[in-house]
């Protein structure tokens, strides 16, 4: 475990250095840019709150991808599940007007259920028609994308506005804010803890993890892989759906706006890959990526480095961390092998004699 942490840290440090080199090569003030990056993401109360708000959906989409990939369900439908979750909460929030203590738990349920449903379609297609979820989840993304676009520009369009968006949800479904920190972050923390318990502590999670590593072993051991596949897909979808729902419930807008969701879903996929599908690493990387994305805005303000640099930096980190995981191991192993061979050759004098007596030469 700690060895993995060290390789990951090394990867991050090297990636940050590479980012520095890129900034420098582009003629930007490299060090001040980095200083701005971190001061706007970590070194003030406002900065930390912004980072945590940013991390809220990333944690959830990251967990969604990690649960999927870790149990060998290739769920690439996070964008669709995210949008459907958001749309379901928007519709629910517009249609129902109940007191907050009832409304919020219900809205969370709706978000979870909608995401699970969208992933469940793919799971059903897999089980009934043996269609690869890798394809179906991707296709369902397009359906979700255009379906929600149709809704916000047609039946659910708020006619008082000039661009496609729904009406505002009723205030009962709004999550409170404390000094700028949305309660959505608390919800996602709770989701994280529950997912971690299921994944790392429960029998079900154990079966999922084994299925992700070797499904034949799980099957022989008596695990019901088909049912487990569906369950993992449902949880994965529910988490992505919740991420979408929280975007409506938290924040300021409280409505489904065209283009919401942005890159959250794909960032989640990326985070899960960097975190090698571990739950705790997924949480940590989500925070880290949120910090970079938040800090990039500040960096743009101070040193005119475009905030898109965050994307570059993220990409470099992914490459370095993922690459270093395998390649450092290979390099270290090869190096160890070389040392061992040299040691064995050097030890010829002292050990080699021991068994020489047994040799009755055949060819010498």
């Amino acid at each position: 475990m700690s060895k993995n942490a060290i390789t990951a840290l090394a990867g991050i440090v090297v990636a940050l250095l590479a980012g520095l080199a890129i900034l420098w090569a582009q003629g930007y003030p490299a060090l001040p840019s980095y200083a701005a990056l971190f001061s706007y993401s970590l070194f003030s109360k406002f900065a930390i709150v912004s980072t945590l708000n940013k991390a809220t959906p990333l944690v959830l989409t990251g967990l969604s991808a990690a649960v999927g990939f870790g149990s060998n369900c290739v769920n690439l439908g996070q964008p669709g599940q995210f949008l459907i979750g958001a749309m379901a909460v928007a519709a629910f929030g517009i249609a129902c007007d109940l007191p907050t203590p009832v409304m919020i738990p219900l809205a969370i349920m709706v978000a979870l259920a909608a995401g699970a449903l969208w992933a469940g379609i793919a799971a059903g297609l897999r089980r009934r028609f043996n269609m690869d979820e890798f394809i179906t989840t991707l296709m369902l993304n397009f359906i979700a994308d255009y379906f929600t676009l149709y809704l916000i520009s047609g039946p659910m369009w708020d006619r008082t506005t000039y661009s496609p968006m729904t009406k505002m949800t009723n205030p009962g479904s709004w999550l409170p804010m404390w000094d700028g920190l949305s309660a959505a972050f608390v919800v996602s923390c709770v989701a994280f803890v529950i997912t971690w318990v299921i994944w790392d502590r429960s029998k079900l999670g154990y079966e999922w993890r084994v299925m992700g590593q070797n499904s034949a072993f799980a099957r022989v051991g008596g695990c019901r892989n088909e049912a487990n596949f569906t369950r993992a897909m449902l949880l994965s979808g529910a988490l992505a759906g919740l991420a979408g729902g929280l975007m409506i419930m938290g924040g300021m807008q409280h409505r489904f706006v065209k283009g919401m969701g942005a890159n959250y879903a794909w960032d989640g996929v990326m985070i899960a890959i960097v975190a090698a599908n571990g739950m705790v690493p997924t949480g940590l990387y989500a925070l880290f990526f949120a910090a970079i994305q938040t800090g990039a805005m500040g960096m743009e303000l101070e040193t005119a480095v475009p905030s898109e640099f965050a994307l570059v930096l993220q990409a470099i980190i992914v490459l370095f961390v993922v690459a270093s995981r395998e390649s450092t191991r290979l390099l270290i192993n090869r190096w160890a092998a070389k040392l061992r061979a040299r040691a064995a050759a050097g030890g010829a004098q002292d050990i080699g004699k021991g068994e020489g007596g047994e040799r009755r030469a055949s060819g010498h």
């Binding site: 029998k203 993890r209 590593q213 070797n214 022989v220 008596g222 090869r334 070389k338 055949s362």
Partner: protein
């Protein structure tokens, strides 16, 4: 003849004495380290004379195959040198080795099943004329003449998939002969053969040897080595231990050199005492997706306290039988009963409450290689063993799981630094002990063992076989002649009925109280080891004998054998 003359001319040119070369192949202080630090070859020196049959013996992991792969250019050595015909060589690929005259037949054949024998032989060395046209006629003549010359008894137009394993091996040899090799390396060629086929192979190898080919024979079967070779080299743990001429050597000499201590050749086994029926297969049939009948009316019973062995050439229905018994494939017709319960339609987990199962391939289905020892030891226990769960039934208790794994490691003598290391870092034998230990910790009355000691070192084989006999136990006081030892084993564990599927006849003769032989999806014989021979079992395996007339359709099958 022409070749011989050519050879003499060649020797004259090179000023090599024309008698056979004593330093034909020389390997000097070869070292091979597999990353990160597995020392597979430790300063190995070996000389092979021209025209001899040189056997290389040693346990699994002794480095025999590695040494030959280095010679054959499949893997590079870390250091050391090889010379062939007095010239230093370092092959970058097997192709280069074959081009200079060294060829190797691997344990797994590398043939295209849907091609004919002729096509397989010329594949990669096609005789091509102008415009890339195949010059078949000439090549066919050459292949045919090789078959005739060495008495290989193959029909060159047969498809490889329609031929027996023994024939496929001959095709592999033929491929090398076609490429004109002088040295044939055979990597455990008899592992896949029946006794009859082994005899045939040895005759062919002797013919080849008489025709001047040098043969390097890798094996761990001592009888075969003593029967066939001129010279025997023993390896142990990557070291060259000894090279002996095969004169007046005995099995015990070789075994001692191989293992480094005296070896008991058969595990001691108290007599079996059968109790009630714990397993019953009735009229099982299975047709695979391709429409081939894999199982054809298989019926037998296993009783408490006996080990029933299933012998057979691989692919004669053993795989399907296991699938049906474990519930991995649906039963199409027939019935499976474990401990009196009809489990024909029961899911895997329901059956696992009544049986334990050591799968054939520990990497494919016996473990998850990247996961920790703990995660690998609690499989199935996580559902059936209340002692590793936490207060809340849906959750596992990590500390208890680790303790469970620790207990398994200790009681089955697994060599591992701790229970958190991935199982892949353990040796094959230790991995297998984890798998066997995990299964044997179930308190089940029926034990299904599918090749439980395949690819495992001698020490672990001995250990695992002892555990199997312990699991079988013997019922206390059931018969008068049970010795003191038997009473001890009987109290150690409750007796279970074992079904042992093995391709290794030695293992079956060591362990089984009854041997059922499978051929083409049927059980063709029910034999008792003291009254039968390997040859008899071999004949049934090949279908060379008429199936025993027996009440195969009934549950009574083999009941009489139990008295022994």
């Amino acid at each position: 003849m022409a070749q011989k003359v050519l050879l003499c001319v060649l020797f004259d040119i090179l000023e090599v004495p024309s008698h056979l070369d004593d330093h034909f192949i020389e390997m000097r202080s070869l070292i091979k380290v597999y990353p990160p630090d597995t020392l597979a070859l430790d300063r190995v020196d070996l000389t092979i004379k021209e025209g001899e049959i040189h056997s290389l013996i040693g346990e699994n992991g002794a480095g025999k195959s590695t040494l030959m792969k280095v010679l054959y250019g499949m893997i590079p050595a870390s250091s050391g040198e090889i010379s062939f015909r007095g010239r230093r060589v370092r092959y970058a690929s097997p192709r280069e080795a074959v081009a200079t005259g060294i060829g190797m037949v691997h344990q797994e054949f590398m043939l295209v099943p849907s091609y004919t024998i002729y096509e397989n032989v010329i594949l990669g060395a096609e005789p091509v004329g102008r415009l890339g046209a195949l010059r078949n006629a000439e090549a066919r003549r050459r292949v045919q003449s090789l078959i005739d010359r060495y008495g290989l008894n193959l029909n060159i137009d047969d498809r490889v998939c329609d031929t027996s394993v023994g024939a496929q091996q001959k095709v592999e040899i033929l491929k090398l002969l076609y490429r004109d090799v002088d040295v044939l390396i055979m990597d455990e060629p008899t592992a896949v053969l029946t006794p009859q086929e082994t005899g045939e192979l040895f005759r062919r190898l002797r013919d080849l040897n008489a025709a001047g080919k040098t043969i390097i024979f890798i094996s761990h079967k001592l009888d075969e080595v003593l029967e066939l070779s001129d010279t025997i080299t023993v390896m142990r743990r990557g070291r060259h231990v000894a090279t002996w001429e095969n004169r007046g050597l005995g099995k015990a000499d070789l075994a001692r050199a191989m293992v480094g201590r005296d070896v008991v050749f058969s595990v001691e086994k108290p007599p079996a005492c059968c109790g009630d029926v714990v397993f019953e297969a009735r009229d099982l049939s299975y047709v695979d997706a391709g429409g081939r009948r894999r199982l054809d009316g298989v019926s037998f019973t296993v009783r408490r306290g006996e080990i029933v062995g299933i012998a057979g050439v691989e692919g004669n229905g053993q795989f399907e039988l296991v699938q049906l018994v474990t519930g991995l494939a649906p039963v199409q017709s027939g019935q499976v009963k474990i401990c009196g319960r009809d489990v024909t339609r029961a899911p895997v987990i329901e059956r696992r409450k009544l049986m334990c199962y050591v799968p054939q391939d520990r990497k494919a289905s016996g473990s998850a290689q990247k996961m920790s020892l703990t995660d690998n030891s609690i499989m199935t226990h996580h559902r059936l063993n209340r002692r590793i769960e936490s207060g809340w039934r849906a959750l596992l208790n990590p500390a208890k799981c680790r303790r469970f794994a620790q207990n398994l490691v200790e009681s089955f003598g697994v060599l591992a630094p701790n229970v958190d290391t991935p199982i892949s870092s353990l040796s094959g034998g230790n991995q297998q002990k984890v798998v066997v230990g995990r299964e044997f910790l179930f308190d089940a009355d029926f034990v299904l063992l599918d090749q439980p000691t395949r690819g495992v070192d001698v020490g672990s084989v001995e250990f695992i076989q002892r555990e199997i006999i312990r699991k079988r136990g013997s019922i206390e006081g059931a018969t008068g002649d049970v010795g003191a030892d038997a009473t001890v084993t009987a109290t150690a564990t409750a007796a279970a009925g074992c079904l042992l599927i093995s391709a290794d006849l030695d293992e079956l003769f060591n362990l089984a109280d009854r041997i059922l032989v499978m051929h083409r999806g049927r059980i063709v014989a029910d034999l008792a080891p003291p009254d039968t021979t390997r040859e008899e079992v071999g004949e049934y395996m090949l279908g060379a004998r008429e199936p025993q007339p027996g009440p195969w359709g009934g549950a009574q099958a083999g009941e009489g054998a139990c008295a022994r």
